[in-house]
Amino acid sequence: MKNKISFHFYLMILPLVVLFFVLHTFPFLQGLFYSLTNWKGYGPWEFTGLHNYTQMFRDPKIAEAYLFTFKFTICATLLVNILSMSIACGLNAKIKLKNFLRAVYFLPYILGSLVVSYVFKQIFSNIIPVWAKALGIPALSVNILGTNHAWLGILFVTVWQSLAFNTIIYLSGLQSIDPDVYEAASIDGCTGFRTFRKITFPLIAPFFTINMVLCGKGFLMMFDQVLALTNGGPGTTTQTIAVLIYKRGFNGGQFAYQSANAAVLFFVVIGLSLFQMKFLERREKKYE
C-alpha cells in the first residue's frame, strides 16, 4: 500500500472535524475561559483569574450539591450494577417466556426520562400515600418527595430507568461465555454462587468495567429526573451539580461562576472515569 492518503478520506472527516470544533470544542473552551472572568451572561466583564474557583470552595451551596451528587452516584451505581447483573443472570438462565421477559425488562430504556419521572412523581404524591393510609403504613402515607427522604424517590426512579441498558450490556456479556466452561466447572463440583464468583464474574469483568464507568459518568451529570421530580427541593436538598449549573447559570446571573463549577465537574468526571478504568482493568487482568 502506498503511504499517501487519498484526499477522499480527508473529505470524509474534515467537515465533521470543523463542525465539531465550532459547535462542541469551541463552546467548551469558551466555558473554560469564562470561568476565569466575572461575566453574568450579559453586559461587561473583567478577567478575575482563579477567583471563581477559590470562591467555589467556600460556597456551602456548591459543597452541598457535590456531596449530594456523590452520595447519589455511589448509591445509584451500586444498586444499578447489583440489580442489573442479577436480572441479566436471571434472563440468561433456563427460563420460560425468555423473549417476553427480556422485552419487558428492556422497556424502560425506550421511555423518556422526563415523562417517566413525571409518572412517578404523580404516583409518589397521589397514589402511594392513599394506599399507605389504607394499609396503615404511616412512613409512606406522605409524599416522599416532600420529605427529607426525597432523594430516595429520585434514586428509585433513576435506578428503575437505568437498569434496562445495563442489564442488556451484562446479558450480552453473559452470552459471550462459552457454555463448556460451565460444564467443566460443574464436573469439578462448582455450584451456585461459587460458580458466579469464580467463573461468571471474572468472565464478564470487561462488561462490569463499561457499566461502572457509564454509571459513574451518567449519575454525576444527573439532571432530568431531579428537575422533574423535586426541582432540587425540598429547599436545595436534592440539588445535583447539573441542576445547580442550569438554574444559577441561566437565571441566577452566575454565568461565569457556574462555568467554573462546570469545569470542576469536568475534571471530576474525567478523573473518576480514568480512575475506574485503570483500577477495574487491573482487576480484569488479574483473572486472565
Binding site: 419487558v104 428492556f106 425506550i110 423518556g112
Partner: protein
C-alpha cells in the same frame, strides 16, 4: 452466531428454572407492567373513580385524552419531534460512519487521523453542562435555536459515541475486498458508498436505535434551544405544561400516555430487532 450458541446451550439437560422464571415475572409485573398499567387506567378515569386506583375504569373517560391533545398542541409537538428524529437519522448514519471509516483505515499511517480519533473519543468524557452555557449563545449566533438547527447539533454531538461504535466495527472488517476494489479503479469514496456502508448494517442498526432514542427522548437540549412554542418537542411540552396538570392528575396521565404511546407501539413491533441492535453494539465495545 446466535443460533449456534442457543443450540449449544440447550444440549445439557434443559430443565426450566421455575423459581427464577417466577421471580422475574413477579418483578416485571409489579415494577414495569404495573407502573404502565396504573398510568393507563388513571388516564382513562375521572376523579370520582379514583378511590380504587387499580380497578378498571368504568365508565371509560376519553375526554382526558382529547383535552391533553388540545392543551399541549399535541400534533404540532409530535410533528416537531418526528422531524428532528427523521432528519437526524440518515445524516448521522452517513456522515458518522464515513468519518469512522476514514479514521480507522488511516490511523496507523497518519498522525492526523489518529489524532482525530482521540479528539472525538475524548469528548465522551466532557459533560454537556460544561459547554451548555456558551452553546446557547453560540446557537443563537448561528441561528441554530430552531428545529433544523437542533437536528444539526444532534448529528454533530453524536460523533464521540458513534465514532467509538463505528470504529470498533470497521476494525473487524477484512481489508481484502477494499484492496481489490482499489485495484479495480474505485476511489475510496466509491468504495465506502458501494461496499463498506452496506456491510456495516449491524452497527448501523445499533447507532440508529441509540440516535432515535436520544433525539426522541432528549429534554435538555430542547429546553435550552427551542424557546418558541411552535418549535417545542413532546418532552419539552410536558415540562412546559406541568404546572397546569397539577390540579388534575387524570389529565396529566393522559398526556403522559400520549407521549409514551408512540414509542411503546413501535417497540412492541420491533423489540427483538431493537434489543439485538443494542446488544451487538455493546458486545463490540
Amino acid at each position: 452466531m446466535n443460533n449456534s450458541t442457543l443450540s449449544l446451550r440447550t444440549q445439557p439437560k434443559a430443565v426450566v428454572n421455575w423459581p427464577i422464571t417466577i421471580l422475574l415475572l413477579i418483578g416485571s409485573s409489579i415494577f414495569i407492567l404495573g407502573v404502565l398499567y396504573i398510568t393507563l387506567v388513571v388516564a382513562l378515569k375521572d376523579t370520582t373513580q379514583m378511590t380504587r386506583v387499580l380497578s378498571l375504569p368504568k365508565p371509560l373517560v376519553l375526554k382526558n385524552f382529547a383535552e391533553a391533545w388540545k392543551m399541549t398542541d399535541y400534533p404540532r409537538k409530535f410533528l416537531n419531534t418526528l422531524i428532528i428524529t427523521v432528519i437526524c437519522l440518515p445524516f448521522t448514519l452517513i456522515t458518522n460512519s464515513a468519518a469512522a471509516y476514514a479514521i480507522t483505515r488511516n490511523r496507523d499511517k497518519s498522525k492526523f487521523f489518529n489524532g482525530v480519533y482521540y479528539y472525538f473519543i475524548s469528548a465522551l468524557f466532557i459533560p454537556f453542562q460544561v459547554l451548555m452555557l456558551p452553546l446557547v449563545k453560540q446557537a443563537s449566533f448561528f441561528h441554530l435555536d430552531n428545529i433544523l438547527g437542533i437536528t444539526f447539533l444532534y448529528i454533530v454531538f453524536g460523533l464521540p459515541m458513534n465514532t467509538f461504535l463505528y470504529c470498533g466495527y470497521v476494525r473487524s472488517l477484512p481489508k481484502s475486498i477494499e484492496e481489490a476494489a482499489l485495484i479495480e479503479g474505485l476511489n475510496p469514496m466509491q468504495i465506502f458508498i458501494r461496499i463498506v456502508f452496506p456491510i456495516m448494517k449491524p452497527i448501523h442498526s445499533t447507532v440508529a436505535i441509540l440516535s432515535i432514542m436520544w433525539t426522541w427522548n432528549d429534554f435538555l437540549m430542547p429546553l435550552l434551544l427551542l424557546t418558541k412554542a411552535d418549535n417545542q418537542t413532546l418532552q419539552l411540552a410536558q415540562y412546559v405544561f406541568q404546572t397546569q396538570f397539577s390540579t388534575n392528575y387524570n389529565l396529566a396521565f393522559a398526556s403522559y400516555i400520549l407521549v409514551l404511546f408512540p414509542v411503546v407501539a413501535v417497540y412492541i413491533f420491533f423489540q427483538r430487532w431493537i434489543i439485538a441492535g443494542v446488544t451487538s453494539g455493546a458486545v463490540k465495545s
